[in-house]
Subunit: 202 residues, 2 copies
């Protein structure tokens, strides 16, 4: 009985993972994808989907949480020590495409979840960036005349806009990380100080 | 007969203007506002609305075009001569709230119009910024290591994000123009040059 229940549990976990993977893909292509489409893409029935998720909002919430958790796990391997400017460059290099991948999912999340919940889901990645920005300010390489929350917002917003520019065909994906880094490092430089030269960003 | 037809024409223009004004307000509050709601807010009947606009998309398109035209007219009075950095500061001061006001309308436009059409509508304001950025590059005060299209995009995206930060309660409207200007002027500074000091942006 205990081995049967553990097999059932493993089945359930596999179904849930397949549903959330399918949700990320379907919602990424179309933020209005239905639960039937998601169930079909996951290879499970609607009954199975509803056994695990009470509503579309629950599916979107869990898919978003999973995408952010995976992104966070990938970022855990980024070295954020040393010169905060170089650390920021490494963070951008490792994370801009995660932001891009999560973007379409975010559109679905914005229609289905509250702004507060979306913010809560982003707390992990946001605090990582906040810590780095605070260290850069303490070391005198990032500006202190604008609030940390604003600087973090600038980084996010420039990463998001790079994804938009790629989709619009105005930016080659290969150039994205360098463009973002060159822009944000300059934006973070204290007034009266030199903008760092990190080599030609093109 | 000619005075009767000119009176009818004046009536029609008044109705159209009332409809587009109501559309901007209704769609600003709710991007999914229906044509019935818009007609009611404009104080015209649905028949009158349909006499002037064949579809919801036509109303959204015309409302967006009107908002941009008005914004452009307001910007015509901004002095964009002299030091390109100070000109950019004046442009931000005069335009960030227009961007904010047009934002909600843009959400409706993005659901109803093609990306190409939205871009076309923005061509006027975008070319104004492009010209200023190109002049700043020619005079050596704005960076040339990133494409003009990217720099224009950074300005737009930072203005949009200021509006988001205000809505989220993380930025006081009084600080918006100074935050945007401080951020964008630094972002536009060529690597190896000093970030300009324009006084404390807070």
């Amino acid at each position: 009985m205990s081995s049967r229940s553990s097999a059932k549990r493993a089945d359930a976990l596999r179904s849930i993972d397949a549903i959330l993977q399918a949700a990320a893909e379907c919602l990424g292509r179309n933020p209005e994808a239905s639960l039937s489409e998601i169930a079909r893409a996951a290879g499970v029935g609607r009954v199975t989907l509803y056994a695990h998720f009470a509503s579309r909002a629950e599916v979107v919430d869990a898919a978003m949480a999973r995408a952010i958790e995976r992104g966070n796990a990938a970022l855990d391997s980024v070295d954020l020590t040393g010169d905060p400017r170089l650390a920021l460059a490494r963070l951008v290099e490792a994370s801009w495409h995660l932001v891009d991948e999560a973007r379409a999912l975010l559109v679905a999340a914005q229609r289905e979840l509250s702004a507060g919940r979306i913010r809560e889901l982003h707390d992990g990645p946001a605090s990582r960036v906040e810590t780095l920005v605070a260290r850069g300010r303490a070391e005198g390489v990032f500006r202190t005349d604008l609030p940390i929350s604003w600087l973090v917002n600038v980084l996010h917003t420039v990463m998001h806009s790079a994804a938009d520019e790629i989709r619009a065909g105005r930016l080659a994906p290969d150039h994205a990380a360098a463009h973002i880094t060159a822009t944000v490092l300059a934006a973070f430089t204290p007034p009266g100080k030199l903008v760092p030269e990190l080599g030609d960003p093109r």
